[in-house]
């Protein structure tokens, strides 16, 4: 066969054409360019703007993969069919080009190694990403385990404030964790100098006795009781040296074994019948992540007044054998970052006036205050110095003005009716002897020597009164403290050197009552029609200034302060609604972690249908008492189904069982110089001392710290997060921290294959770029030494060879 015939045959073969195309370097370059573009677009190389004008400074930006068209995490973007096809095609191109174009010899060994390494890396990656399971879990340090003499048991999580109860034949014991000290110093004995995790439990016995049992994890021999106010029991005589008040009740610290983890980036609906403990779960596939999806007509709000548009969502959530059997379950809405909020709208049936008020002081703006005119508890703020009143018309404002005045009502012997005296500042004797003011015509007289304004009296609250002197017809004078609360009114006896009558007697011939008036120094008055919004500024005795307010405009109220009524609602109505937080106000970490995401779940059966918003839960704990509020929210939604079944629903992640339960034996914080101060900046490392369940017992302790994971049952455990201390706040007893650890959990199949591929490719690069030229040079030298006689001939040959090499290889490989 001639060479022309061979070429024609090659041309005719379609298989040969495909192989030729697949071995093309240009194809390889094109695929690499596509790979570059795909990587760039999917990662952080390309953004699209989102208008978010909270501050007047412009746009915020999102990555392209977050757009509605894609709705992908980075992991998802790099796990699409397109990406797999691209990587597959590149691999094929490498294989075909290597076999078809590159001879396997010493000079080309580098290229072979590079290409083989990349193929091995690709194979390892298929294994790795194809079998990857990854998530995290929280493991608490201890549970309080109680056993009664009659065999009853109870246990609860060792967190401050957590409560347990135990019914015994003798009655009910109540236990509450009073204090936890993660670093209790041991001061004596062979363990002196060490620290231990200390849990103090307040015990209330059926007989009403109360004592604190203090336990040290890992040191049961140091368990002892303390009686509040009296000290350690061992020091109290009546206990004869024993350490425990009630030795029959056994309280110990046990592990809080965790048997599950939650899968990263997954979504699941957790469901159970009301009253049950265990959740059943239904995975939610295809749930969006980055954009809001609600159909038209769904009741939601946005803080910045923007609109979501009509983006309906319909995702079936299948499952069987759980509390939702027989109900069609669909996700019909998703909000990326929102909160359920009780919003006020101005469309109520009844008049319910509300104002939002902002006070700006020299120190900056105070948090906004909301005042309800019709609610005595919510009408005023700042210790009643700011009030809001609603009036029917202009005429009703006058009594409010007058209400600033103070009213003294007096009746002395001989008077038929009491006399009302509207007090002014002039009535007060401010150091100078004021003349007595006659009253009743029979020689009685009075004067006011002082005012007691808003005095705090224990058990009585805030009281106001007057200090008065009375003169009787015979010239006798005495002092009386006249309070608004008449039971506090007292005469002072002149015989006792001005001491108050101990029995609280009040001379019967003179009756005095006092009304201190309203104390609000700032009163906002609003009303229907033309009344508008007024501001009355009182000086304690009367209105000293009056202004007409404009909504949203600041009005100076003295002392460098100003007041802004930011909103007035006449018919306020509260409605519970999902409110979308504008992107610029979102906390980035929470935004990424779905912390404030929520789904709208629609349950239906025949004509019956109900929709409910479910907020995201990082963990689907079974009970609020099994968790810490810093870990995850716990807000299961209770729904009554068409047939009366009551079910609880929770939106969380997929929960999977660990190969074996894991317990946290100890949690060690290694501090930097200067010691641990509760902040991350003072921490050098965290170490979770873990034990894994083995049969009926526990494995030896394994220390997991940052950069030092441990394996168990095919899964690796990584130190992920911790519980820092937090101060007590309203509704939260606070924590000294270190009560739990956060562990990353995952498998890592195929990493050694990946590593082998990488190493081979690196060796290949070194071979191709550094070893090959040496080999070539040696060979060339050898050839030249054998065959060329003169220097000129050598130079000529070298030049020719260089040209040939350059033309053949482009000068690099």
């Amino acid at each position: 066969m001639t060479s022309d015939q061979t070429r024609r045959k090659k041309k005719r073969s379609p298989g040969g054409g495909v192989v030729g195309a697949l071995s093309s370097i240009r194809l390889g370059i094109s695929l690499l360019v596509v790979l570059f573009v795909y990587l760039t677009v999917g990662s952080a190389g390309l953004f699209y703007p989102v208008w978010d004008d909270v501050t007047g400074l412009g746009f915020t930006t999102y990555m392209v993969r977050q757009h509605r068209l894609f709705e992908m995490t980075e992991f998802e973007w790099f796990h699409t069919w397109f990406f797999f096809a691209l990587v597959g095609l590149i691999s094929l191109n490498i294989i075909v080009a290597t076999i078809g174009r590159i001879p396997f010899n010493l000079l080309k060994l580098g290229v072979w190694m590079i290409h083989s390494g990349i193929i091995i890396l690709a194979v390892g990656s298929v294994i790795y990403f194809g079998t990857k399971v990854e998530g995290d879990t929280a493991v608490f340090r201890r549970r309080v385990v109680i056993t009664s003499p009659d065999g009853g048991t109870a246990d609860f999580l060792a967190l401050v404030g957590h409560v347990g109860m135990l019914e015994t034949r003798g009655g009910r014991y109540v236990f509450q964790v009073a204090e936890i000290n993660p670093s209790w110093p041991i001061l004596s004995g062979e363990h002196k100098g060490k620290t231990a995790y200390s849990v103090s439990v307040m015990v209330s016995t059926p007989s009403g006795q109360r004592f604190v049992r203090q336990m040290l994890a890992g040191y049961p021999q140091f368990t002892e009781d303390v009686i509040p106010g009296r000290g350690r029991v061992v020091k109290l005589e009546e206990f004869g040296g024993q350490k425990l008040v009630d030795e029959s009740i056994d309280i110990a610290l046990g592990f809080d074994a965790q048997d599950s983890f939650w899968v990263k980036d997954s979504s699941a609906l957790h469901v159970r019948r009301a009253g049950e403990r265990s959740w059943a779960q239904r995975p939610i596939h295809g749930l969006p992540r980055y954009n809001d999806y609600v159909g038209e007509g769904v009741d939601i709000e946005t803080l910045d007044g923007s609109t979501v548009g009509d983006h309906p969502l319909e995702l079936g959530v299948g499952g069987k054998g759980d509390a939702l059997d027989g109900v069609d379950v669909r996700v019909t809405g998703y909000l990326r970052y929102a909160e359920m909020s009780r919003m006020l709208v101005d469309d109520g049936d009844k008049i319910k006036p509300v104002v939002d008020v902002q006070i700006v002081t020299d120190q900056g703006a105070l948090p906004s205050t909301q005042l309800w005119a019709g609610d005595t508890d919510r009408r005023s703020a700042f210790e009643d110095r700011l009030e809001f009143w609603w009036v029917g018309d202009e005429s009703e404002i006058e009594p409010l003005r007058e209400a600033y005045g103070r009213l003294l009502t007096l009746r002395v012997e001989g008077m038929e009716a009491a006399e009302e005296i509207r007090l002014t500042r002039e009535h007060i004797d401010e150091g100078e002897e004021e003349a007595f003011i006659p009253i009743g015509g029979d020689g009685y007289a009075f004067r006011v020597t002082g005012a007691i304004d808003r005095l705090e009296i224990e058990g009585q609250g805030t009281v106001s009164g007057l200090v008065m002197e009375f003169k009787r017809p015979g010239g006798e004078t005495f002092t009386r403290w006249v309070f608004e609360n008449a039971t506090l009114t007292r005469d002072l006896s002149s015989d006792d050197g001005g001491q108050m009558h101990p029995d609280g007697e009040v001379a019967p011939d003179i009756e005095a009552a006092y009304d201190a008036g309203r104390w609000a120094s700032v009163t906002i008055v609003a009303g229907a029609g033309d009344t508008g919004v007024r501001l009355l500024l009182g000086g304690g005795w009367e209105v000293v200034q009056e202004h007409v307010l404009e909504i949203g405009r600041a009005q100076a109220i003295g002392d460098g302060q100003s007041l802004i009524v930011t909103r007035l609602l006449e018919r306020a109505r509260e409605r519970r609604v999902a409110v979308i937080i504008p992107p610029a106000q979102r906390i980035r970490d929470f935004d990424v972690s779905r912390h404030f995401a929520m789904i709208r779940l629609t349950l239906s059966n025949g004509d019956w249908s109900e929709s409910v918003w479910l907020p995201y839960h990082k963990y689907s704990f079974e009970d609020m008492d099994d968790m810490s509020p810093t870990l995850s929210r716990y807000q299961p939604e209770l729904v009554t189904l068409h047939d009366g079944r009551r079910v609880e629903l929770m939106f969380s992640r997929e929960k999977r069982v660990l190969p074996s339960p894991v317990a946290l034996d100890d949690f060690i914080v290694t501090a930097r110089v200067g010691g641990f101060r509760g902040t991350t900046s003072t921490v050098r490392d965290w170490t979770s001392v873990l034990r894994f369940k083995q049969g009926d017992g526990w494995s030896a302790a394994q220390r997991v710290s940052t950069n030092d994971p441990k394996a168990n049952g095919g899964f690796w455990y990584f130190q992920s997060y911790w519980e820092p201390p937090r101060p007590a706040r309203a509704g939260d007893p606070g924590s000294s921290g270190l009560n739990f650890t956060g562990l990353g959990v995952g498998n890592r199949n195929g990493v050694y294959t990946q590593l082998a591929g990488c190493c081979l490719s690196v060796i290949g690069m070194i071979w191709a770029w550094y070893i090959k030229p040496i080999i070539r040079r040696k060979r060339r030298g050898k050839v030249l030494a054998e065959h060329v006689d003169s220097i000129a001939q050598i130079q000529q040959k070298v030049d020719c060879e260089e040209e040939l090499v350059g033309a053949d290889e482009g000068g690099t490989s």
């Binding site: 952080a44 703006a365 641990f676 260089e802 482009g810 000068g811």
Partner: protein, 582 residues
Amino acid sequence: MNKQLRVALVSALIVLPLVWGVTKRMGSRAAQPEASAFAQQVDLSPLDRVAVYRDGRIKSYGSFANQILGFISGPHELLGQDDTFSYLDLMLRAGRYGDADIVHVKQKAMRVQLARMLDGVEGFDDARKARFIKSGLLSPRLLMEPDVQQQLRVWSRDLIRTAKHSDRVLGALNVLSPMRVPGSGRVMLQAEQVLGRALCVIPPGSGRSDAQWFSIIAVAPQSGGVMVVLDGLEPGEIEVVWGAWDRLVVAWRSEDAGGVNSAVAELARVLPTLKPEVYPSQRKLGWESWYFSNGHMTWVWLVYLLSLIFLLGGVVYRWASARWIGIGVFTIAFGLHTFALGLRWYVSGRWPNSNMFEAVTTAVWFGALVAIVLELLCGRSAMRNLFALTGAAASMVAMMAAHFLPELDANISNRMPILHDIWLYIHTNVIIASYALIAMASVTGVLYLLWRVGGGGKDYAHVGGAASLIDAGRFGEKKISKGEVFDGATMILLELAVILLWTGIIMGAIWADHSWGRPWGWDPKEVFAFNTFVIFLILVHLRKTSKDKGLWTAWLAVIGCGVMMFNWVVINFVISGLHSYA
């Protein structure tokens, strides 16, 4: 002296003073009005050797003051004073600063909006407004204006664009604790407590390194003059410390420089003797203060610039003298750079590669080191001086960035726990070294492109990069074009960079595997490191197929550098990811 050398010297003499002037104007601690006579008379140098505890680290007082003042006034000095003076002055004579422009507002758009709000406010005239918009410095009094406060709080809600900057201003105000004087427009600062509490100079009495340090005001006598008890410290020691501090306070407030100097000397003498076992060495503290007072030696960029001028003359015009001077100055610059790096290593107690400032300055140090090695290898080839030139250019740009950009925070802080791993040294150093080489290759790439623009042909290095290096000697013997030289140098640098980059990526994956539980998480930093690698894969294969290999190589070297810079700068500062600390 030949003509070429004279030209080079004259160029250097013209350029350097210009650059020096610009540096003085734009310096990392831009100067303000001259300090007061008191500030000039006070000698706080003994405090350079006093240790202060802050955030899990013991610093020198100079470094500590630099950090706190940087937080308040950004890159500016307070009233032309040294930071060490300003800290104590803010603490002890806060009254001076109520209406002094000392708080830095970083974002220009915010400055403009604030300036608009302050229009018409007493004392905020056009000149001051212009100064504010230019420098970003505003007084606590003006920042306490209700409208300004309201706006700052609105900005604090925008977590993406403005919160960081407004929170910083509010944080600075928290430190300064301004208070409006009732009935007047004045604002008093009450910074004494906050700054006093932060001044933790008394070592733990227990002598344990993990025990708490005490602030200087913790030793203040209780009511009735009863001395406090600090566990492990003798009452007499406490009394001496407090006595010296009290004298310093009194003297400071009465502007008695002599009294201040003697009290400072006494404090500096006593404090290190309280618990010598936990006190850092005096020499180390002294060097730390020296390092910070000398601008972290980032001014070395000027020396690199000087070398660059000569090296350009040497490479482009083949001036032999300029070449030798350039190499000499480059070596000096590298020596100074090495000293700065070593000093930071000594002061911080760790190899400097844990934050952006350190990564940038260390990366180019690697680059300069490689340049010197390559110069030694290629000293007789046509590529001689080219590597020094690329090293000087990359180092100069990086050190300028470290000098001028406050984003590259030079403060020495502790490493995050996750960074305490041997792979930090291996992975990070390999990666940043590859980055430096990529930057250097882009310089030769640009030179090649300029050469092409200037009429050069489609020349390229036939034998290839590494082979060129091995055959380096032959270049010197043969007449070859500049295009070949530039292309060859580009390939030498890129081949090394690609191997280091790929190795670094692999090492990062190994570290990530045992740190985060996955070797590859498609984090933006990972993806763009890989993207940079992909660019060079394209380059390598284009050299096999393209007819204009030199041009493609040059362009892809520049593009690769762009992708690398995007990864290093944009991803680090804009995109939040797993590598946010990198």
